[in-house]
Homo-oligomer: 384 residues x 2
């Protein structure tokens, strides 16, 4: 039994890869649940890296559910968005017109019915669009970390109306890390320190090393299990963790940028992508790293500690890299690919607030994005 | 530098004990932080169990900060609310007029500027007022568990406009348990199971037993540390945990009441408050329980498990009592008085989402209440 619709959330989705498609499927399968709660999500447009499919009538209900299902199927099969044009009810814009059309849509809807611009891409290219949308009074929900890790001015602009902004899935996928930190800060409880293991890949690698396995073998196994990026150096560089650390540090009010973060890479620069192919790194580079990593694991173990790849955000600065930690701390106990975050504040001083769980995966990330969209519903009261 | 005020949150507080006074102090100390975010909390009234102090002009800024500070000091010193009358700007109503005045205030403000009725008492007496306030369009924030554990119809009425309702601090003080479960459900990820250790007192007792200490000694130590209620049977009965379990079960959509929860008490009924004084229980009752508890701890230990006092909410029902759990699970590893909750769903199927931290204390509970109040701000846009 559907409740009267209280809130209508018009959405334009940027990015239609694994997370974006999962989001659309979640929206479809949640229709009855959301109707029950008096909420309706209307998808008015979907963009991939080359074009934008947008509803003919922006004030309508947006794409019908059959078209959205077909869109997911088409993108999964590698077909372009243009393959949906024959269905009617939509228009296609290729870049750069696509970007202009997103801004136009934001302008038309921003001040009237409102619009949520959802970024599930993995590019820096959306920053301009997102900033323009914020200027036009739109809401923004991000799974894409990159817009929040650009210049500080961009971050500041994006969060300038903080209540119209959600980015839970940029750190720990669906884990309620950002929401919890925001709650704690809002209650006047000053967060003094955040320590986290925020890479499922590096979490897996470090706990396998603890069992005495060799670094090169563990990384290759992680790759074969699909835990790493196609080039594992994308994980081993620590840059993905550093982006999450930067987002958390900025959330705590630190006016810093990537260059202020001390990032330890798990391979030396002479083994980097500029100097060595992925194949060479996997076949001959990796094994040369075994000995030094083994020594560090052993040195930690002799002190009763374990080695973890963590981010550490304190008032004195922000660091990303290997740390020796007590075996019986929340981070030290971590096994497998779970993420874990420890938050220290006045209320959580001697023992931190700990949040742990799966911190990656398209399903989990998309679920976090959907929860973020719904969290904006009080800004979208139906006026009609 | 204060931002323009976007949201004004008028508040009437019921209950002025430890949590209520901490809340008022947090509101005062957060003034600059909230001003920065464009939010202003106006306290229009404060009630204790016998009377209500209310601002002369409901459309004003409410009590000034000096009066609120004095009010906290007066209540801490055991003075009645009437001692504030000489300050002016306020009126006093004794029960039952006080209750009627709260409803009148809700009627006046509910549909205009809105009102947040905050219940930091620990009584069933507020249920009627809260339901009337909901009927008048007010928002409700609860630290008081009891209104949510009455008849199912009362619960249903209180959450009938779910977005105007917050009750984070009823389970795990400031820990983001309710908010996380709500997020997960909203994203269409069905929660299948929640297992939690939700009593700091019983958490402490169970982890001390694991170290081979005697039950009677541990309970007496807990009492002397101020971890238990004046009569430790209030903790050992499991009823406080059962209330939290009921709230979580109802949040998952279970239409159940207290009588549907299987609650294991840690003392037999012949040692209950009706049969034995607190003094007798502490001096002679407790030691008679040592042997059976010791046997259960040992039996668990022989299987490599530990004994925990947990609540378990599944689709098949809701139980509260002792459970044998693996030593290396989130619950099994628990030491001291932290609370911990494991949430299982599609996204957190094999490994649960785990939230752990201090789950009691006036400061932490009041911080959770304040975060809840601020979370309602999008419903309170300043219209002027």
């Amino acid at each position: 039994m559907a409740a009267p619709v209280r809130s209508v959330l018009p959405v334009v989705l940027l990015g239609c890869g694994g997370v974006g498609r999962h989001l659309l499927r979640h929206i479809l399968s949640c229709r009855p649940l959301h109707a029950n709660q008096g909420v309706a999500i209307r998808v008015l447009g979907v963009a991939d890296s080359s074009s934008l499919l947008v509803a003919d009538d922006l004030h309508s209900n947006g794409f019908d559910d059959a078209l959205l299902a077909d869109l997911c199927a088409a993108k999964s099969a590698g077909s372009p968005l243009s393959s949906l044009l024959s269905r009617g009810q939509c228009q296609l814009f290729n870049n750069p017109e696509a970007r202009r059309k997103v801004i136009d849509t934001a302008s038309v809807l921003g001040k009237t019915t409102g619009l949520v611009l959802v970024d599930c891409s993995a590019t820096y290219d959306t920053v301009g669009m997102l900033k323009d949308a914020v200027d036009r009074g739109c809401c923004v929900v991000l799974a894409n970390k990159k817009p929040l890790t650009c210049a500080y001015e961009d971050f500041e602009k994006l969060v300038s109306n903080f209540r119209r902004m959600r980015f839970e899935s940029t750190v720990g996928a669906g884990l309620p890390v950002i929401a919890s930190v925001t709650r704690i800060i809002a209650s006047g409880d000053p967060v003094s320190r955040i320590v986290g293991s925020l890479s499922g890949t590096l979490g897996y690698v470090m706990s396998e090393l603890e069992d005495g396995k060799r670094f090169s073998e563990v990384v290759k196994t992680a790759k074969s299990l699909g835990y790493t990026e196609p080039d594992p150096r994308d994980d081993l560089s620590g840059m993905d963790v550093a982006r999450k650390a930067l987002i958390l540090a900025r959330l705590l009010g630190q006016r810093i940028s990537m260059e202020n973060i001390n990032v330890e890479s798990l391979y030396p620069s002479e083994f980097g992508p500029d100097a060595m192919s992925t194949k060479d790194f996997l076949e001959s580079g990796l094994v040369q790293l075994d000995k030094s990593i083994e020594e560090r694991v052993k040195a930690a173990s002799l002190k009763g500690n374990v080695l973890r790849y963590v981010c550490k955000i304190e008032s004195t600065g922000c660091q990303v890299g290997l740390e020796e930690l007590p075996k019986n701390s929340a981070l030290g106990r971590l096994r497998g690919s779970d993420n874990v975050v420890e938050i220290y504040s006045r209320c959580y001083e001697s023992a931190p607030l700990v949040i742990q769980g799966a911190g990656a995966g398209n399903d989990t990330t998309a679920a976090g994005v959907l929860a973020d969209i719904l969290d904006l519903q009080d800004l979208f009261h139906k006026t009609a």
